[in-house]
């Protein structure tokens, strides 16, 4: 989230698309309702009439996978009806930038597509550069090659009638939503967009997110209280696990993991440090050399020196893509020997989980670390297989629960909050921290004693977390925060700061690229300082009244509660909305007041030191036109890979950069219904943490399939009947739940039914049921690999598997 949960109360219009917070983030509704009590409106756009929809002022039905059409129509509506926040768009977005002559869009395709490789040449979408090396701009935004005009042209095709014929939305519902939300384009109004997997789990998921962000840019809704682009994260620490780089392409702090041709630290830094020639651009990621060097110092300590490139050669280098789906594919081919699952359950949680279960049987060894027996840990004795046929060696390790250990987790609003150990772990279970520590210590012993291939990355790793039985979590937290490796004097404007070797780094601003600082994860620098553990703070004062609670826990970066907050003020530093001041420039004291600003510089207007607000991009301006998306600079509507409709927007049916696997089918004779998956309040994820809890099982005991009254009548199904759902990947059995919450969609005049189901069930635990992911396709977003769980085709039949 750019903003945070309590900030929802500051919104005039809350637009929920692709998430269902009343169901999946229930307590967030406290703040949504507070906004509504103050006159804010709630909009819900969803294929289903959800618990969130039942509370909404406006509900619009949308067919799964057509979000770009819906949002593109709103972009068009805002532009055509002059609803945009013009000063914001002109000053803070790249609307004024000119695009090079090669860029073109025709018949559903952007220019420079390689039909063989199924890739675009991203270079052909570059800005047009001036003689000073900066992109050319036209502040009048009238130049036909300006982003503004290209955007306007691109989305002129997304008129209300076209959009509604794609999305199946009723025109009057659509217009109500567009009118209400686009009214937040005024400087004194705030609109927020909340989304989750309904947006991301799509073959054009990243472009869905971009469409959300672009609408917010046009309306001037990013950086302000009650605004923002807010991804509602679904797991207690999925924010933190992403922050710490548990993805193949990342290192901690969203630094990129090195690629094969980043042959040394210099080449790495050259590749991943963005550059600008514009002195008004802060280009924050220009600090990449400081962050990667400090991380290497945290990892390799005194062994990391300038002379040995700070042990950069010890890091593995990637060649290609190792996203989850690719790894499972490789496992299925028997090309993987071992797998360790830390609280992850691929036998239920990933797409096409039938194939995932088979793939697990091709491993030589499997380690699961969890609180419970999961479908993954007992895959070798799952229904329908003979354990004798499965040669995988399985270690099932018991992990401590969250109240049996100490440490921090980061919520969706980036608040890192400290948890305490209330009791000892049950039985022989141990914390994940202890388990990882043991993995490491035993590997180090083996490589010290028995040698082996390239032992140095392991034997030289700095790993000093005390001498206790359990690693000292505070020492880990301090390593993450960072410290000085030698005595330092830093001149910071008019102040001279003295630090001793070993002192904690106060914030990432002081990190260095020469090895004089170490820092495990730069975005968390400032979380554990000389003043102590900032994440454990419990001061509930709220000086602004906006709900920022600056002394409650700690939030990255640098305790900034609303990021991009320099965009909440005009170029002179005056708040756009004087009633909800996030930051304001005090000209006499020459400093910002309010939230921690996105950098200390004076307002943008200041000729000498002013900076643009979007500090994470080299051009300093938010991108209405993207330069680095693999599937186009503007989001364009394509159908989901399995769809009952032809693409009405162009002749190009699916996102052209997406490679389509064999086991998908849009044969409506076989699979006439739209299937979608979702979560519910009473269960969670693959069910490990809920299906063994009697209280929750009593609330929702069975796997079910939701369907409309009309579909139930058509199939002769009654409430509580067993039914079968089939896709090209598999068949599941479940209990029929007939509801008016689901309605068919109008697809080119034909009514197409939808079927909804939770994905929380499996064969382990106290209550069991078939897994919805046996049905879902492996195809995913070209930019992220996130699978298209939300829109696939299926059939429904009366009677269970044994019928």
């Amino acid at each position: 989230m750019t903003n945070h949960w309590i900030d929802l109360k500051n919104s005039d219009s809350i637009f929920i698309i692709g998430c269902n917070p009343a169901e999946n983030h229930p307590i967030s509704f406290k703040w949504i309702e507070e906004a509504m009590d103050s006159g804010g409106k709630l909009i819900v756009v969803d294929p289903r009439y959800t618990r969130s929809a039942s509370k909404a002022d406006m509900y619009a039905q949308v067919r799964p996978g057509t979000d770009i059409a819906f949002l593109g129509g709103m972009i068009n509506y805002a532009l055509q009806n002059n609803q945009i926040h013009e000063e914001y768009v002109r000053e803070y977005t790249n609307a004024t930038f000119l695009v090079g002559e090669t860029y073109d869009f025709k018949d559903g395709m952007f220019c420079s597509f390689d039909d063989q490789e199924k890739t675009y040449d991203l270079k052909s979408w570059a800005y047009e550069s001036g003689t000073d090396g900066n992109p050319k701009r036209d502040l009048s935004m009238k130049n036909p090659r300006s982003v503004y005009q290209l955007l306007k042209k691109h989305y002129s095709r997304y008129d209300v009638d076209m959009v509604c014929s794609i999305t199946g939305t009723k025109k009057e519902d659509y217009l109500k939503v567009a009118k209400n939300f686009c009214a937040t384009g005024r400087p004194d109004k705030a609109g927020t967009i909340l989304y989750a997997m309904g947006i991301t789990q799509s073959t054009h998921g990243t472009q869905n997110v971009r469409a959300v962000a672009m609408l917010q840019m046009l309306l001037g809704n990013i950086g302000i209280a009650g605004g923002g682009v807010n991804a509602l994260r679904g797991e207690s620490n999925v924010q933190g696990s992403s922050d710490y780089g548990l993805l193949f392409h990342l290192l901690p702090g969203y630094l990129k993991s090195p690629e094969f041709d980043n042959t040394d630290l210099k080449a790495y830094v050259e590749k991943w440090t963005p550059k600008t020639k514009d002195s008004k651009s802060a280009n924050w990621l220009g600090n990449t050399p400081k962050y990667i060097t400090s991380m290497l110092k945290a990892w390799y300590g005194d062994n990391a020196t300038a002379a040995n490139d700070f042990c950069y050669s010890y890091l593995p280098k990637r060649m290609g893509n190792y996203a989850y789906g690719k790894i499972m594919e490789k496992m299925g081919k028997g090309e993987l020997e071992g797998l360790v699952c830390m609280g992850m359950n691929p036998a239920v949680g990933g797409p096409d989980s039938g194939n995932a279960r088979t793939a697990l049987g091709k491993l030589k060894w499997l380690v699961t670390v969890d609180l419970w027996e999961t479908e993954t840990s007992i895959f070798w004795k799952r229904p329908g297989v003979n354990p004798k046929d499965i040669q995988t060696e399985v270690f099932m390790l018991p992990a401590a629960s969250s109240v049996e250990k100490e440490g921090s987790i980061s919520n969706s609003g980036r608040w890192a909050q400290w948890r305490y150990k209330a009791v000892e772990p049950v039985g022989k279970s141990m914390s994940d921290l202890w388990i990882i520590d043991q993995f490491y210590k035993r590997m180090k012993n083996l490589y010290t004693k028995d040698k082996g291939v390239f032992p140095e990355p392991i034997t030289k790793l700095s790993w000093n977390y005390g001498n206790g039985h359990e690693p000292d979590v505070h020492l880990v937290a301090k390593e993450i925060n960072g410290s000085f490796t030698k005595d330092m004097t830093i001149i910071d404007k008019d102040k001279t700061l003295e630090f001793k070797a070993g002192d904690p780094v106060p914030m990432f601003k002081h990190l260095q690229a020469d090895g004089s600082t170490s820092c495990g994860c730069w975005i968390y620098s400032g979380s554990y300082t000389k003043e102590g553990n900032q994440m454990a703070r419990r001061d509930d004062s709220d000086p602004t009244g906006l709900g920022m609670f600056p002394k409650w826990s700690w939030c990255w970066p640098v305790n900034r509660r609303i990021i991009y907050n320099r965009a909440s003020v005009n170029p002179a530093g005056e708040p756009f909305n004087p009633k909800r001041i996030v930051i304001a420039w005090d000209a006499t004291e020459k400093k910002w007041k309010g939230d921690i600003p996105d950098g200390p510089w004076p307002p943008m207007k200041d000729d000498k030191e002013g900076k643009y607000p979007f500090i994470m991009l080299p051009e300093g301006h938010a991108r209405l036109y993207a330069l680095d998306m693999k599937d186009g600079p503007f989001p364009e509507h394509y159908e989901p890979v399995e769809s009952p409709a032809r693409n009405l927007m162009s002749k190009v049916q699916n996102s052209p950069a997406v490679k389509i696997p064999k086991n998908v089918s849009s044969d409506l004779a076989k699979f006439p219904f739209i299937g979608t998956t979702y979560r519910m309040t009473e269960h969670w994820q693959t069910g490990g943490m809920t299906r063994s809890l009697p209280w929750l099982n009593e609330l929702v005991p069975d796997m079910f399939v939701e369907m409309s009254d009309t579909l139930a009548r058509l199939k002769g199904i009654k409430k509580g009947d067993k039914v079968r759902v089939t896709t090209e990947r598999g068949t599941i059995e479940a209990v029929a739940l007939i509801t008016s919450r689901l309605k068919p969609f109008n697809v080119e005049g034909k009514m197409i039914e939808q079927i909804g189901m939770p994905w929380h069930f499996g064969y382990a635990g106290l209550s069991t049921g078939d897994s919805a992911n046996l049905l879902t396709p492996t195809v995913g977003c070209i930019n992220t690999g996130i699978p298209e769980f939300k829109a696939f085709l299926c059939n429904l039949e009366k009677g269970g598997n044994k019928a």
Binding site: N237, L246, V394
Partner: protein
């Protein structure tokens, strides 16, 4: 306003657990808060389910958890919890929790109990064997036909982390990369 079966059950479950249904302890209910928690130790925690980050109080007596409820001082949830958060007590106190280290040999139809030392040593051996066998010092790039140093262990993958603490995620990341694991992935990809 009518009450659905679901809401009814939810309320029942909450009351059964002795959890404050609303607001601060002083407004809670007939369970007089002071006597209810008398003699108990309290510590704070954050909910392990969704990412709203609600605060909870964990009450213990003689090293055992006797009650978990919403933290009324927490600015986000102000004491309130959803049905999952309200059930955290049953995560902590549940006879289905794994309490032992279990091992299943290849082809076997059953788990057998082992101790930590045995399991950890054997896992370390497996990891080392796989790393030594599948370590790729260099790899050919087909586009320019050149060999590049990659120092990568291709025979194993590490999954997970969204349920771990930050400090655990950090060490997991550090350990994985030191092992040369490129195939490090978790729930955020799904």
């Amino acid at each position: 306003m009518g009450m659905s079966r679901r809401q009814f059950l939810q309320g029942g479950a909450l009351t059964a657990a002795g959890i404050a249904l609303s607001g601060t302890p002083s407004e809670a209910n007939a369970d007089a808060p002071v006597t209810r928690i008398k003699g108990l130790k309290a510590s704070t925690t954050i909910c392990p389910y969704c990412a709203v980050g609600c605060g909870l109080l964990v009450h213990t007596k003689d090293g055992k958890i006797v009650n978990i409820e919403g933290d009324p001082k927490h600015p986000i949830n102000q004491g309130a919890l959803c049905s999952k958060g309200s059930s955290l007590y049953q995560v902590a106190v549940n006879d289905r929790r794994l309490q032992k280290i279990m091992y299943r040999a290849p082809g076997s139809d059953t788990f057998v109990e082992k101790n930590w030392d045995w399991a950890m040593d054997r896992i370390a051996l497996r990891m080392k064997e796989t790393r030594d066998k599948t370590f790729k010092a260099t790899e050919l790039n087909k586009k320019d036909n050149k060999e590049y140093v990659v120092n990568r262990t291709d025979g194993m993958a590490f999954f997970g982390g969204a349920g771990l603490d930050n400090e655990e995620c950090y060490l997991w990341s550090k350990f994985a990369r030191a092992m040369g694991v490129g195939q490090l992935e978790h729930q955020a990809r799904l």
